[in-house]
């Protein structure tokens, strides 16, 4: 196909704009009967007649473009002819000169235009014409690119023709729909065309992939009354939007569809909150001409509360299923995830956020794995902060966590238990409950199947299933932010600790996880020696290092002996602030050093006190002060930690004692 230019008979070079090219090539394929490059004169003639120009004008055009001389319409002639048609329709005289200017596209009756939208040229079409131009109806690119429409045009060209005859009976429909549904879309239709368009349009807004299949399919099932009632609202205008809006899911209801369904609901029952009775719904859906068996099945799927009537949500589900069925989709055995009433009711607010789509899309199932997995590590950090009563239970939980760090069913077990364990952890549970939803997206059956599953698991724990269901429902809300930030809020007591931990770095956590023996990174080494009974010398040395860094400038000015004393004194300084016990220990073990320091602190202090003002700048003082402050903070943190660990130790001891006593009780029996 020669798109670049049309060669006029006189050899004038003709430039065509892009959209002209597209349109013309589309029309060219329309009229092409054989592959020889010639256009079927009959079809060309029909096309010309569709332009609604007087016959003599058409003759003129035909002459001008050179077809008469050649005896046929070649590509160039055809393009020139089209341009002349446009010119004639624009009111310009039929001359070759007139086509050299920019022209709007030629208008053919019942063809949608890109540039203009008219309602004229109605109802004059014979079927023969209509079936040529029927396809441009749904090919009009509305919001989307022309190319799509063009492709659609071509692909459905053949399919339109076979089923054009069935459309003639459709000519009867009430005239009200086109007017009532304020064709703001500005589509040209006549009665016969309306239905033809509705079907491909209807298909369009279900799924883009239905492009080729739907026209033929929907052509087989004309349902004038049903679609006319439902009317042209969505259709071809929407089809493009539909293609864009949709994920690959034909079971998702778009906004336009939802509005349409709501509109239909209103037509049946003005009160949106009320129910549509079964008989009313039956009459309505029977118009869709689906077999009764299928309608019955659709009813069973959509009437979830089994009351014999349809709420708005149920109505939407049913309608959507009908539409899908009409477009060739097999009816599912159970409601797809996106058609669940829960989902739809939540979605009743017009804006369907991307989050929701993301949340429910199966493709994101994997992503959901990560947050919950990372979430699992958090309880470990909070190990020390749980209330005493729950601590043991949490311990077992955490052990379970440690043992099974996968998204296995154990997660489900743990989550419900945790969800009830500590009310404070509500936020944590919302995140942790993502796996249930995640699983539900994985499973073919929707969450209702999951509920009994989870419920049955938690029954031995004697929790009400309501909490789980609540938690489940929470997960259906738009996804909560990533879990990490929440861990700061899950326990009040952990707040400061957590921040401090984060400030102090990862080392503390690891040090905390592996209790005492391992030496955490240096900054904390200063404090942790409090807990460690051994290696005080080394800790002392470690202790010296940060202080050494802090007082680097200070030490340079002092003698080495005094430096060592200073370091030790400084170390002892912050050490004095924590509770007595660790300090005592420190004193005990480092008695030599400290004893030597004892006499020194007071003299050395004023000594250092006197000297610094002269030599230390304020900057150094500030450095020292900040270092002291930091050390004090970490000190406080560690002491708190220490106390809690002590408490845990006590409890463990208690347990041990209990077990031992039990053993004692049993032992004599064994001996006997």
């Amino acid at each position: 196909m020669d798109r670049a230019a049309g060669a006029a008979p006189g050899g004038t070079f003709m430039c065509m704009s892009e959209k002209e090219q597209r349109r013309y090539s589309g029309l060219y394929t329309l009229c092409q009967a054989d592959s020889s490059g010639k256009l079927a004169p009959g079809k060309v003639g029909e096309l010309f007649r569709a332009s609604q120009l007087p016959a003599d004008t058409l003759h003129q055009i035909a002459e001008l473009c050179g077809a008469k001389q050649l005896g046929y319409f070649g590509t160039g002639q055809f393009y020139v002819a089209l341009k002349l048609l446009a010119a004639a329709q624009a009111g310009l005289p039929v001359r070759l000169e007139s086509i050299k200017n920019e022209l709007p596209l030629p208008r053919f009756s019942d063809m949608k235009e890109e540039a203009e939208s008219h309602f004229h040229n109605h109802s004059q079409n014979s079927e023969t014409q209509s079936h040529h131009f029927g396809l441009p109806l749904d090919s009009t690119p509305r919001a989307m690119t022309d190319r799509r429409g063009f492709r659609r045009q071509e692909s459905s060209a053949e399919k339109k023709e076979p089923w054009s005859p069935p459309r003639s009976p459709c000519g009867s429909p009430p005239a009200s729909p086109p007017s009532s549904h304020g064709c703001s879309l500005g589509t040209q239709r006549n009665g016969a065309e309306a239905h033809a368009a509705q079907m491909p349009g209807g298909s369009g807004w279900v799924h883009a992939q239905l492009e080729t299949s739907s026209p033929s399919h929907s052509g087989n099932k004309p349902h004038p009354e049903h679609t006319s009632v439902g009317a042209p609202v969505e259709r071809p205008g929407e089809q493009d939007a539909g293609m864009v809006d949709y994920a690959d899911d034909p079971w998702r209801i778009t906004e336009e569809q939802r509005e349409y369904y709501t509109h239909q609901f209103k037509s049946l029952q003005p009160n949106l909150g009320a129910l549509i009775l079964g008989s009313v719904a039956k009459n309505f859906f029977t118009k869709s001409k689906l077999p009764i068996l299928e309608l019955s099945h659709i009813w069973e799927l959509s009437d979830v509360d089994r009351d014999g009537a349809l709420t708005l949500t149920e109505f939407c589900i049913a309608f959507h299923l009908i539409v899908a069925r009409k477009n060739g989709y097999p009816l599912p055995e159970t409601l797809p995830l996106t058609l669940l009433p829960r989902f739809l009711e939540k979605d009743a607010a017009p804006s369907r956020t991307a989050n929701e789509d993301v949340f429910f899309a199966m493709s994101l199932a994997q992503q959901k794995k990560d947050p919950p997995l990372t979430e699992k590590t958090e309880p470990l950090i909070f190990f020390g902060e749980t209330e005493p009563g729950l601590r043991l239970q949490n311990e077992t939980d955490h052990q379970m966590h440690l043992s099974v760090m996968t998204l296995s069913k154990q997660d489900l077990r743990e989550e419900p238990s945790k969800s009830v364990f500590s009310p404070k952890r509500i936020q944590v549970t919302t995140v942790q409950d993502k796996p249930p939803v995640h699983r539900s997206t994985e499973k073919p059956d929707p969450p209702p199947e999951l509920d009994p599953h989870v419920r049955s698991r938690t029954r031995p724990r004697s929790y009400s299933s309501a909490s789980i269901e609540e938690a489940m429902k929470k997960t259906e809300e738009p996804p909560t932010p990533p879990p990490r930030p929440q861990k700061t809020h899950s326990r009040a007591s952990s707040l400061d600790l957590n921040k401090l931990f984060q400030q102090s770095g990862q080392g503390l956590k690891s040090g905390h996880l592996l209790p005492p023996p391992a030496l955490p990174p240096r900054p904390m080494a200063t404090q942790i020696p409090h807990f460690i009974s051994g290696t005080d010398k080394s800790s002392q040395k470690a202790v010296q290092q940060p202080n050494f860094a802090d007082f680097s400038k200070f030490q340079e000015e002092e003698e080495n002996a005094i430096q060592a004393e200073e370091q030790n004194r400084e170390d002892a300084g912050p050490l004095r602030t924590p509770p007595q016990k660790p300090v005592r220990r420190k004193y005990r073990t480092e008695s030599q050093v400290l004893d030597s320091l004892q006499p020194f602190p007071s003299p050395s202090h004023p000594l250092t006190g006197s000297k610094p003002p002269q030599k230390l700048s304020s900057r150094q003082k500030k450095e020292i002060q900040t270092a002291i402050r930091k050390n004090k903070e970490t000190n406080a943190v560690l002491t708190r930690l220490n106390s809690e660990l002590q408490q845990q130790l006590k409890e463990v001891h208690q347990e041990r004692v209990n077990l031992e006593s039990q053993l004692e009780v049993l032992r004599p029996v064994a001996f006997l």
Binding site: G278, S296, E300, D303, E333
Partner: protein, 147 residues
């Protein structure tokens, strides 16, 4: 009338009012189905007898459940009638002793619930054979349970 043959075989047939034609028949083993059909039909007489014998105005669950209609050679027949005179009949293999009365009752209750769901469907005309997939799946699950 709905009859259900249980134990190994399960058959479900529902019939209605005076006509007593089956609305639904289902059995697990495909063989000897005819025998169960026959059993069901003959048991209808017993059902009628019980229904007429009741004669009370108040109809409650217990009276809906007719209990063991009669034990024959190797199977037992249980009956149940709904308020709309739709009869359910279950035929159970006698070798299946694990089925207790309560279980049969619960089965009938489930059947009744599913049946009302089918009835609620506006596209279902009372008197048509029941073609609901939901109903089918429910019956299948029930039969699998008892087998």
């Amino acid at each position: 009338m709905m009859t259900m043959l249980g134990g190994e075989p399960f058959l479900l047939v529902s019939k209605q009012e005076q006509q007593n034609y089956p609305l639904y028949i289902r059995s697990v083993p495909s063989d000897s189905e005819l025998k169960f059909h026959y059993t069901v039909h003959t048991s209808l007489d017993v059902v009628e007898e019980k229904v007429s014998a009741v004669g009370k105005v108040i109809v409650d669950q217990r009276e809906l459940y007719l209990g063991l209609l009669y034990p024959t050679e190797d199977y037992k027949v249980y009956g149940y009638v709904t308020n709309s005179k739709v009869k359910f009949v279950i035929v159970v293999d006698s070798s299946n002793t694990s089925l207790r009365d309560n279980e049969i009752r619960s089965m009938f209750r489930k059947l009744h619930n599913s049946f009302t769901d089918v009835m609620c469907n506006p596209f279902y005309n009372p008197g048509d054979p029941i073609q609901s997939k939901v109903f089918d799946s429910m019956v299948s699950s029930m039969m699998v349970q008892t087998c």
